[in-house]
Symmetry: C2
Subunit: 296 residues, 2 copies
DNA sequence: ACATAATGATACGCTTTTCCTATCTTAGCC
DNA sequence: GGCTAAGATAGGAAAAGCGTATCATTATGT
């Protein structure tokens, strides 16, 4: 599909000489004459006024020439665009990610990717793990970055690790435990606790609770916060303490301190997740790029 | 140039099934697979996700489909347009015509032609014979309607008769000659005369003067008018009499009378004139149409 | 688990299209 | 009147496209 004939016509129209045009096209003159005749037959319109002396365009040819040029140009553009989408330098991508993934290196990575891929439209949306999985399966998003753990049933999906975060204990500045450099897990027993809603990340929630129980810690959940933002506000207000992903510390806040935990807690594994057979070059490129931004 | 492959792609994209698509295209399935593969190779982009279970578009294919459709549609439009221009139902045409050609049947003919050929843009310009010939040769106009006579050198042009007009004598209402039903040529001797500029229609001018001399009439040219409009104003004002084309009488005017001439005067032959080998279907159609409007 | 059915890919020979070489035709020119 | 330049025509060769037969893969049903 080289639009051969269209090119033949344009070249003859430019040279106004079958011999020279044929030379430019690297073919002999007779087939060129034939092909032009074929176009004329197909269109039902004579495009050239021929004499042995000179060749000129008929009004029909005059009208055809710019249109033919435009068509070819259009075709070039289409080709480029399709190629761009194919190798991932253009296209659309909807990404759902959990709040904890929104680290400075994540933002930087996204910004760079946009910078280097002007043809790409990224659609970013913050979601809970539960919501993101649903959005993936209903094809509302193409890619998710969520808390993954082995208990989840994701046989219809594929995934790849993004980063592992540790838990930190969020404390009010003036809390007695803030004196210690790191807090033993057992110290959390019966402490007033602020948790996220289980439904947001059910497996993670269950895993954390399991770990606490195993360490003999019975948390006294005094409040359930839907947004991490709210959790921090409540902790700062002295309502209680909370276990938060380490990425939370990137947002500094008056009156809040973070301490590492001494003891066994599940890791916070953020994974890229996508539907089977839906991994496009664009997604691959984005995943590779974002992963490269993760420190260490 | 049937844009075969493009159509193949579109059909497969619509059916999402190589077998059915091949059937719709009236070819076997293997060549279809081959051609699709050829497109993919050419674009450097996989367009379909194939499995023995189902075929689906890749993002690149998704982008390509509407573009391919648009391209084909565009091609159809181009074809139609070229065909229209070729058979004269569309296009542009610049027509220069002498004032005398602007009769009611001329106006009606033009109006009808426009009505019946909406794709046609007519560019009408009133000109003198001299100016029209120049405009023709410099390709500023495509067709002229001018006073033609055998003395003119128009070997580079072709022509066809439009209509023959007679001369009339334009008189003030109260002029003594207005009493007669027709005026003998000899009566014009020494009468105050209003003439057009010789340069406007030189051959015609010379021919008229020759006829007058031959009849022993020595006109007393008191004024030279550039516009026929002006001639009539001057005649009505009693400045003199004038020889005018019979078409002039279609414009009635207070205080003006026209009388036939008894005697030998050149006929006013208005011809279509165009450059050799420049007669397009559109011009042919216009010429035929206008000529059919001439009375009798 | 194994045979069956459905579907796209591959192999290979045939047909059609396109191209090339050689020659013809026409129109200007010395 | 022959010469030259340019496009058209003729006929065979090369290339592209197509068809039949077959393979490979995957789901399905017993």
């Amino acid at each position: 599909m080289r639009f051969r004939k269209l090119n033949y016509f344009i070249t003859v129209a430019e040279e106004l000489h079958f011999g020279r045009a044929a030379a430019r096209l690297h073919i002999a003159q007779p087939p060129l004459s034939q092909q032009i005749k074929a176009i004329e037959d197909e269109l039902g319109a004579v495009l050239f006024e021929r004499s042995s002396q000179k060749v000129s365009l008929t009004p029909a040819g005059e009208v055809f020439l710019p249109q033919a040029r435009a068509l070819l140009q259009n075709w070039e553009k289409i080709q480029e665009q399709v190629r761009s989408v194919a190798n991932g330098t253009a296209g659309n991508l909807s990404l759902g990610f959990v709040w904890a993934a929104g680290t400075p290196h994540f933002s930087k990575g996204i910004a760079q990717f946009k910078q280097n891929n002007h043809g790409v439209t990224l659609n970013l949306e913050e979601m809970t793990t539960t919501h993101a999985l649903d959005a993936l399966r209903t094809e509302k998003i193409d890619l998710a970055m969520i808390f993954l753990n082995p208990l989840m049933d994701i046989t219809d999906l594929e995934h790849q690790e993004y980063e592992i975060q540790k838990h930190l204990l969020a404390l009010p500045d003036n809390h007695p435990l803030a004196q210690k450099d790191s807090v033993p897990l057992s110290d959390l027993h019966q402490l007033p606790f602020i948790s996220f809603v289980r439904q947001a990340h059910p497996s993670l929630y269950d895993q954390i609770m399991h770990s606490l129980h195993a360490a003999g810690v019975e948390p006294n959940i005094v409040q359930i916060a839907r947004l991490t933002q709210t959790t921090r506000t409540l902790v700062a207000a002295g309502v209680g303490v909370a276990l938060v992903p380490e990425s939370t510390q990137f947002d500094q806040r008056e009156g809040l301190t973070y301490r590492p935990i001494d003891g066994v807690l599940p890791e916070l594994a953020i994974h890229f997740v996508w539907r089977k057979n839906s991994l496009t070059p664009l997604m691959e490129r984005l995943i590779t790029h974002l992963q490269a931004q993760v420190p260490r």
